[in-house]
């Protein structure tokens, strides 16, 4: 499994959706169950998967599928 597949699978698992719905419109505004709890769960799962530890600022800014890709990139993980 490559990194983007890992990233997508974690999103799909945390938000209980199919990977097909993951796109630029997938964000805190458009996803009903995207709240602080799911956001922290998402962060934890990604940290464990990629063996990284987000800065607090990155956790706070992790509010969309696309934004998350950029944040992951900061930790030298190529998606």
């Amino acid at each position: 499994m490559n990194n983007i597949e890992k990233y997508n699978n974690i999103f799909a698992s945390v938000f209980n959706v199919n990977v097909e719905v993951l796109n630029s419109d997938f964000n805190i505004e458009s996803v009903d169950n995207w709240d602080s709890i799911t956001q922290l769960t998402l962060v934890t799962e990604l940290e464990d998967e990629f063996d990284i530890m987000f800065d607090t600022e990155d956790i706070l800014e992790f509010k969309s599928y696309d934004k998350g890709k950029g944040i992951i990139g900061k930790y030298d993980i190529a998606l």
């Binding site: 934890t44 940290e47 464990d48 530890m53 800065d55 607090t56």
Partner: protein
């Protein structure tokens, strides 16, 4: 050969401000009780000799970690290092802090901000980081070193007592938030403690304050450390959100 059980056996601990006084006493007591101790100080190399002898004396691991607690990036790197080396953090003791003595009219706002930065903001940041590891473990104990003046207030220490009042409030809130992950958060509120630094101040300025202590003496740093051992250990698994006074029944 009979083995003696130690109540912090193999628990992984981070203790900030461990170069002297209460912090150093906590680190030594934790090592004595078998903990794996990560001892923080700001000055590079300042704990090296002590850590080696402490580890040897107590047959455990004592590792110096040099960083300024107000540097969020360095604090994060320290937590990552512990996680990589031990795969867990069982106990965080937030001890690093600044203290000052001044009347309200003499309170310097810049110094007040600096004190909040060290005593409160840095404490919260370390709690954030450690809690992220502890949440995964579903276990952990966070001990914040407060002060009796944060509970009672005292004439001539407005800035310091304000920061310690904040420590008490954040301790209670964090305890409520983290309880579901089996992370306990407590504070210890020492009274006047006979550290090298405070003893000098006490003798010069506050010797009359001995009247305020029902037990009639200053605390030994080890007596504060003993309370930390208890709150860090499995003897206190149902205790969270408490501000434990260790003050010899002091009343300002």
């Amino acid at each position: 050969m009979k083995t003696v059980s130690k109540i912090l056996d193999s628990k992984v601990c981070l203790i900030t401000g461990a170069s002297r006084g209460i912090g150093k006493a906590i680190a030594e007591r934790f090592a004595q009780e078998g903990a794996i101790v990560y001892a923080n100080a700001r000055e590079e190399g300042s704990l090296d000799t002590w850590a080696t002898s402490c580890a040897k004396e107590h047959n455990t691991v004592v590792i110096p970690l040099y960083f300024d607690v107000t540097d969020a990036n360095l604090a994060k790197q320290a937590i990552i290092k512990i996680k990589k080396e031990q795969q867990r953090i069982d106990i965080l003791v937030n001890n690093a802090g600044l203290v000052s003595y001044e009347l309200l009219a003499m309170t310097n706002v810049e110094k007040l901000r600096e004190m909040f930065e060290v005593n409160v903001i840095a404490m919260i940041q370390l709690m954030q980081l450690a809690a992220r590891i502890m949440t995964r473990q579903k276990n952990g104990s966070i001990i914040n070193i407060s002060s009796i003046v944060g509970v009672q207030g005292v004439k001539g220490q407005l800035s310091y007592s304000a920061t310690k009042g904040a420590v008490n409030a954040l301790t209670k809130s964090a305890a409520k938030e983290l309880a579901s992950d089996n992370i306990r958060v407590n504070a210890i509120a020492p009274g006047m403690v006979e550290t090298e630094r405070f003893k000098k101040v006490f003798d010069e300025k506050f010797s009359h304050r001995i009247e305020d202590i029902a037990m009639g003496r200053l605390a030994k740093p080890e007596e504060i450390a003993n309370a930390c051992v208890f709150l860090g250990s499995d003897l206190s698994t149902y205790i969270s959100g408490q501000i434990l006074g260790v003050d010899g029944s002091t009343n300002f």
